[in-house]
């Protein structure tokens, strides 16, 4: 069966490694709770098996560009 997350309008979600997260937070001058949030129960988070405290990177299309968006996974 086709999954909804295969639809072209759902951007690519990717789980970041702890090392990547550390670097990201350093470049953005942030702590983890400064990032926007995504629920652990979000379909994409479930699919990736993300746990609270991890960060999901989303490649979203803004017009012709593709930009990374970051979400910390939170409980719920």
């Amino acid at each position: 069966m086709t999954s909804k997350s295969d639809h072209e309008l759902v951007p690519v979600h990717e789980l970041m490694s702890d090392k990547e997260v550390k670097e990201l937070l350093q470049t953005l001058n942030l702590t983890l709770d400064g990032l926007p949030k995504i629920l652990e129960s979000d379909t994409q988070a479930v699919k990736l098996g993300a746990k609270a405290g991890q960060v999901i990177k989303i490649y979203r299309r803004d017009g012709k560009r593709e930009n990374p968006y970051y979400r910390t996974v939170v409980e719920g």
């Binding site: 953005l28 001058n29 942030l30 709770d33 400064g34 803004d62 017009g63 560009r65 968006y69």
Partner: protein
């Protein structure tokens, strides 16, 4: 200084004993002044409660009127009365308790049940403090109270509850026996602490018997100051009047009690006392007549002081008045620059600007201070902060005393930075800084090009003017809020401050391909733009309008943009091709204004807009542009075309209907046959509207038609507007967007229409025009359309205005960081890349923004 954090505030009910301790005097005489005009001791203006006359000393604290905070007095009521604002609480408690054993009507098990439920709730919602109380009431207390209310007898002693009746505002009956306030108080006093806790009452802060008043606190005199009228007569505050009433009845009641008067008289006086106390708290208590002043005006008592729009909260605490500001009607003046505002002389004499006296400008300051007329100094604020008003008598003295470090407040002068504002202040350009220009007359004058950001017009609008009072505020205003820096909208990069209306029409007419001006005209026009060099004339000694426009362009400008039909080309500061339209200036993909702003700076740009608008106005005035019936008179050819177009469309629709009737109509995907027919008909009608517009432009080619010319230049009106006036009004729509189909019974709009008729005319298509006059039936259709669009407009502005407010409030503190990420005030990340492309639309000249198409 010791500092502590307040973590909670608890309100309770005033204990009569506390009230006695709180007050400094027991009032006994129901009067204010004696014959000598001196406050009576023990009267309502007893000087122990503070004084209001300057010079007198308070008999409690010894301070003068200014520094005495005022002290409470008290009236001891000989018979207690109910507090009307609390009678509902009293009712609730009486309903819930037994009049025999004075316990809650519930048995111990039932009480435990509810207590358990409440503590459980407390555990669950322990973090969410704000919701906790509401949840408790909603889920715990309400069901219990409801049960208590419906109980017929006490579960403990079995005593029947009897019929308890509450009659607003202060009467309680048990089985038709009227409970007296002291009886109620006795009942309430006997309820145990534990039972009160179940009811949600903290008996330390609020014992229920305190709800019944026996001691009435009297507010200090400075809360209810008396006014001395010009005639020397004293006029007392409404509260004082009310308190006199209370004391008078209280005294009479006491006398009657002492004299052993019959019970009926006592009860009557008691009830009267209750009335006065009730109206003292709230003179708008339901179901009792308001207490009135001798003149018949209702008294303004305690609740009225606080309540509503003019009450203490909304009027004095939430809304404060601003100093250094002015407000008046606005009107136009095209001779005032965009960043200027014409200030009436009268206002300029009253508004002041600080002048900081230094060692270096001391002489200049003294010179200014010495002046006794218009630009003069109003106040001098010495270094110790003392403010002295400059009058003729002390001017010499002040000049002598003037030293560096003092601040003088001088009157508003030309060039001073002011903030100009029009409400509602929906976005940042609703307040901009303008330089003052002091003028005759009594209105604020502004350039009409800055009208759109304020959404102002001159049909009676009023605007506010504020004068920033320090150098930091002034420079911030001048550099951040000046109109020249706000020309382009951050929404889509289009110019919000630009030539409009005649300012465009004039430019358009002047720069038309074969437009020539005589020498006189050219000189006149150029003199308005303050250009004193004539461009090269043609062989006939005439001047091209285009060249006049070029003379106003900054030197060496190169630009290529769009015009009405042709490209718009400027080479080396000269207009080579094209005619000026609204689009050329500040809209769409490539804007002349952006180019000038980028290459020559915003000051040049501001002046460019100002000059072109002024010149355009002058040109329009010179040549005359006017709209009359002439503009909307159809030619024979156009009339024929109109009839042909309509016949063609009606024919097609007839055909669609026949196909529908014979089931030959091919339905659209996702629609029923009937819906398909409706959609096809609407499509046809939309098509004929567009076609009519095209034909109109095809036939109305004359350049004498001002209406069409305005449409072409983009300054005012659309083809549709002209079309509706000359050809046909077209489809009238309802609120829901569909064609009109109801209005008369049996599913038709008017009685002339056969029910079920779906042809254009029967469903609100108006084939007549304003020029030809509407057919009687069409007039009704038009009225339906007008009404619904009026209703729609009203609803939409209310809703979208509030939506926009919520949105802009939510976003207002976000800002773009140095790494182009969007952050909030706590530096939290909102968006990694601003707008997805790091582009601020304000600075875009000709990039087509694919990601952010205008919606």
């Amino acid at each position: 200084m010791q500092t502590e954090v307040i973590d909670s505030i608890k309100f309770g009910i005033l204990n009569p004993e506390d009230a006695k301790k709180l007050s400094v005097v027991k009032l006994t005489v129901p009067d204010t002044y004696n014959e000598d005009g001196y406050p009576i001791e023990g009267g309502l203006l007893d000087q122990r409660m503070g004084v209001i006359d300057p010079g007198l000393l308070c008999k409690t604290c010894g301070a003068r009127a200014k520094s005495c905070p005022g002290h409470f007095g008290r009236i001891e009521l000989v018979r207690p009365v109910l507090h009307s604002e609390f009678s509902k609480v009293v009712y609730m408690i009486l309903q819930s308790t037994c009049r025999n054993c004075h316990r809650l009507l519930l048995s111990d098990e039932h009480i435990e049940e509810y207590k358990g439920a409440l503590t459980k709730l407390e555990e669950v919602v322990v973090d969410v403090e704000t919701d906790a109380i509401e949840d408790k009431v909603e889920m715990g207390s309400l069901p219990m109270l409801k049960r208590l209310k419906n109980m017929k007898k006490c579960e403990r002693c079995g005593t029947p509850k009897g019929k308890l009746k509450f009659s607003a505002p202060t009467y309680f009956y048990v089985d038709d026996y009227k409970l007296k306030p002291d009886e109620i108080r006795d009942l309430l006093a006997k309820i145990s602490i534990e039972d009160l806790q179940v009811l949600g009452i903290d008996s330390v802060a609020s014992r229920p018997e305190w709800l019944i008043l026996s001691v009435l606190l009297v507010p200090p005199v400075n809360v209810r100051p008396s006014i001395t009228l010009e005639s020397g007569e004293r006029s007392e505050d409404d509260l004082t009047h009310k308190l006199v009433d209370i004391m008078r009845i209280n005294l009479r009641l006491e006398q009657n009690l002492n004299a052993g008067a019959p019970q009926i008289i006592i009860d009557d006086l008691w009830e009267l006392l209750q009335y006065h106390v009730t109206t003292y708290f709230n003179n708008e208590t339901a179901s009792i007549p308001p207490a009135r002043h001798r003149s018949g005006r209702a008294l303004k008592t305690l609740a009225q002081r606080l309540k509503g729009k003019e009450g203490r909260f909304r009027y004095n605490l939430s809304g404060k008045r601003v100093n250094y500001s002015a407000r008046t009607v606005i009107s136009v003046d095209p001779n005032i620059n965009l960043d200027e505002v014409g200030v009436p002389f009268e206002i300029a004499t009253k508004l002041t600007v600080p002048f900081y006296v230094t060692t270096w400008n001391l002489d200049k300051a003294k010179e200014l201070l010495a002046r006794a007329e218009y630009p003069m100094v109003m106040n001098v604020i010495a270094r110790d902060g003392k403010r002295k008003r400059v009058i003729d008598l002390n001017r010499e003295e002040l000049i002598k005393e003037l030293q560096p470090g003092d601040i003088m407040e001088r009157q508003l002068m030309d060039g001073d930075i002011t903030l100009f504002n029009r409400q509602p202040s929906l976005h940042r350009v609703s307040i901009m800084s303008h330089k003052a220009k002091v003028l005759k007359g009594r209105t604020f004058r502004m350039n009409y090009c800055v009208t759109p950001p304020y959404n102002a017009d001159f049909d009676g609008d009023e605007m506010n003017l504020h004068v920033p009072q320090n150098l930091e505020a002034q420079s911030e205003a001048a550099y951040l809020m000046s109109p020249q820096y706000q020309i382009f909208s951050p929404r889509d990069g289009d110019a919000i401050i630009t030539n409009n209306e005649d300012g465009i029409t004039g430019m358009y007419l002047m720069t038309k391909e074969d437009n020539y001006l005589t020498k006189e005209q050219a000189v006149y026009i150029l003199s308005i733009a303050k250009v004193y060099e004539l461009p090269k004339p043609t062989k006939d000694g005439l001047y091209r309008g285009r060249d006049i426009f070029s003379a106003m362009l900054p030197k060496g400008l190169n630009f290529e943009g769009k015009s009405a039909k042709s490209p718009f080309v400027i080479k080396d500061g000269k207009l080579i091709e094209g005619v000026v339209t609204k689009e050329t200036f500040g809209r769409g993909d490539n804007k002349l204004l952006v180019k000038i702003g980028k290459d020559y700076g915003y000051d040049v740009l501001k002046d460019f807009i100002f000059q072109t608008a002024k010149v355009a106005d002058a040109y329009v005035t010179l040549m005359g542009v006017t709209v009359g019936v002439k503009e909307y008179t159809t030619s024979k050819k156009l009339e024929v075309e109109r009839v042909r177009l309509l016949e063609e469309t009606f024919g097609k629709i007839e055909e669609l209907i026949t196909q529908y009737k014979t089931r030959k109509l091919e339905p659209l995907i996702g629609y029923t046959l009937r819906q398909s027919l409706e959609r096809m008909i609407i499509a046809e009608l939309n098509l004929v509207r567009d076609k009519a517009g095209e034909t109109l432009l095809k036939y109305e080619t004359s350049e004498d038609n001002a209406a069409v010319e305005m449409t072409r230049s983009g300054s005012r009106g659309s083809v549709l507007n002209i079309e509706q006036m000359t050809m046909f009004l077209g489809q009238q729509a309802t609120l829901s967007g569909g064609r009109i189909k109801r209005g008369y019974y049996t599913n038709r709009v008017l009685p002339h229409i056969v029910p079920g008729d779906v042809r254009p005319g029967a469903r609100g298509f108006v084939a007549t025009s304003y020029y030809s006059g509407l057919a009687p039936t069409d007039l009704f259709m038009h009225a339906v359309g007008s009404r619904s669009s009026e209703v729609y407009k009203a609803l939409l502005t209310a809703r979208s205005g509030y939506l926009y407010r919520r949105l802009s409030n939510a976003l207002q503190d976000y800002c773009v960081d140095s790494d182009y990420s969007v952050r909030d005030t706590n530096n939290n990340l909102i968006q990694t890349v601003y707008g997805g492309d790091r582009v601020n639309p304000i600075f875009v000249q000709f990039q087509k923004l694919e990601a952010h198409e205008k919606s």
